[in-house]
Amino acid sequence: MITIDPLDPSGPAEQIRAQLTALIQGGELEAETKLPTVRQLAGDLRVAAGTVAKAYKELEAEGLVRTGRANGTRVNAGQVLQAPLMNEVRALARHAQAAGLSLDELQKLVAATWKN
């Protein structure tokens, strides 16, 4: 499941791309998993079809998914991040939850650290 926040400055296309990337690299969306059609996802998220199409195109450019005329959009194999990094991400999420941080707060902390 992905969620769009209209108040997020990054915009809906970037939010869709980022969340799908995280789900693919985290292994939650396995290889060959079929993604919803552009029209379905756009309808569910109340965004324009072009917004979802843009996100899918960027994912395709990154090699995370492929789009075939008959097969729809599917997750490519071999896109899961290496296990040690994923373990560290999971540990970070666990620690943040234990500390009572929300996802937003954790993301802001990571963004601040990233800039340094």
């Binding site: 499941m1 309808g43 569910d44 998220l45």
Partner: protein
């Protein structure tokens, strides 16, 4: 002497079997807890979210309930309208009555196809949470509702089309040139001459009816195509509807889609079932009357009030009986589907908020 079959016995038997079938069908469905189960599914799914989600789920259920009631209402009105039309056009040879299940199905499916469920429901206008969630499972038309959701109505429609085509090819015109009779050829004949039977062997052609020939078949096939398109469109609309905003309502959203799929598939299957029953009974009666003929013997005298012994064409009689038995089985199936339909429609009644309070106090 050939066996005698009295038509009146069969006519008396049918309503009795219908009533017994109704009772058994209703008992089986109620005993299996279908009515309570469906209500529970929707209610449980609605309570997966927070209090605001329950309010939104309640709003959607109210619209679903209104849609079901309107669909049932227009279906009943359509069927009643056909009865009225039959009264206005008594020389239509029952075509309006015969087509009433499909007219009801057309109107009901029209409601489901064109009255779309709302997608921007909110607990209140000042709802603070503006976030919108979506699942990542691709939806397809056959995904929601029963596994047989498209197969069974498709089989009914296909069988009806095939049966009407076969009946049409075998049908013949009546005295007004309408193809609503079954032509028959017999190789014997008899006339009465002052109560004395005079037999003669000659090839005579006659016909029996009403038979579901082109006169009935063409309009019914047209309606069948319309019902098929509307049903697929209604199922497609159910699939295509954008999901509810809240992440907590995703399970309820799927339950609601399943619910709508069950109602649409069950409703159309039930009406196609009853449509098949009417046509099968018509064909069975027609074949039966064609199979039975008076067995005159040389020297026999016919007295008023004493029935003439009848001879039965076993082939036609067997075909007639087979069609009659299939029709009876379809009556049971139709009644079972009707009870199930009432169960699913009934599951949208009652307040979710009240249910929530009951759960909390328990």
């Amino acid at each position: 002497m050939l066996p005698q079959i009295k038509g009146t016995h069969m006519i008396n038997l049918l309503p009795s079997l219908l009533v017994i079938g109704l009772c058994i069908g209703i008992l089986l469905i109620v005993r299996r807890g279908v009515i309570a189960q469906r209500r529970e599914d929707l209610a449980i799914a609605a309570h997966r979210g927070n209090a605001a989600d329950v309010v939104v789920a309640g709003k959607l259920m109210r619209v679903m309930r209104a849609r079901h009631l309107l669909a049932i209402g227009v279906a009943l009105l359509g069927a009643f309208g056909m009865f009225m039309l039959q009264g206005f056009f008594p020389k239509s040879f029952g075509i309006f009555l015969l087509g009433s299940p499909l007219v009801a199905a057309t109107l009901a499916m029209g409601i489901y196809a064109f009255w779309k469920l709302p997608t921007n429901l909110k607990a209140d206008a000042r709802s603070a949470d503006k976030r919108i969630s979506a699942g990542l499972i691709p939806r397809s038309t056959g995904m929601f509702g029963p596994a047989w959701g498209i197969l069974v109505p498709g089989l009914f429609a296909g069988s009806l089309l095939l049966g009407l085509l076969i009946a049409g090819f075998f049908s013949g015109p009546d005295e007004r040139g309408l193809f609503r009779n079954l032509p028959l050829t017999s190789f014997s004949g008899a006339t009465l001459d002052e109560n004395m039977v005079v037999t003669e062997i000659s090839a005579t052609t006659g016909s029996t009816g009403p038979f579901p020939g082109w006169y009935y078949g063409v309009p019914i096939m047209g309606l069948l195509v319309i019902v098929g398109i509307l049903t697929l469109w209604a199922l497609h609309t159910n699939t295509r509807r954008p999901s509810l905003h809240s992440a907590g309502l995703q399970e309820f959203d799927t339950a609601a889609r399943n619910h709508e799929g069950y109602v649409i598939s069950t409703g159309v299957s039930m009406l196609l079932c009853f449509q098949s029953v009417l046509l099968l009974f018509m064909a069975a009666m027609s074949l039966y009357s064609g199979a039975v003929s008076a067995a005159y013997e040389i020297g026999m005298t016919v007295e008023p009030g004493i029935p003439v012994p009848s001879a039965v064409d076993t082939g036609l009689a067997a075909l007639s009986a087979t069609l009659g038995i299939i029709a009876l089985l379809l009556i049971f199936t139709g009644v079972a589907l009707l009870v199930k339909l009432f169960g699913w429609v009934g599951s949208t009644f009652g307040s979710l908020e009240q249910k929530s309070n009951e759960s909390a106090s328990a």
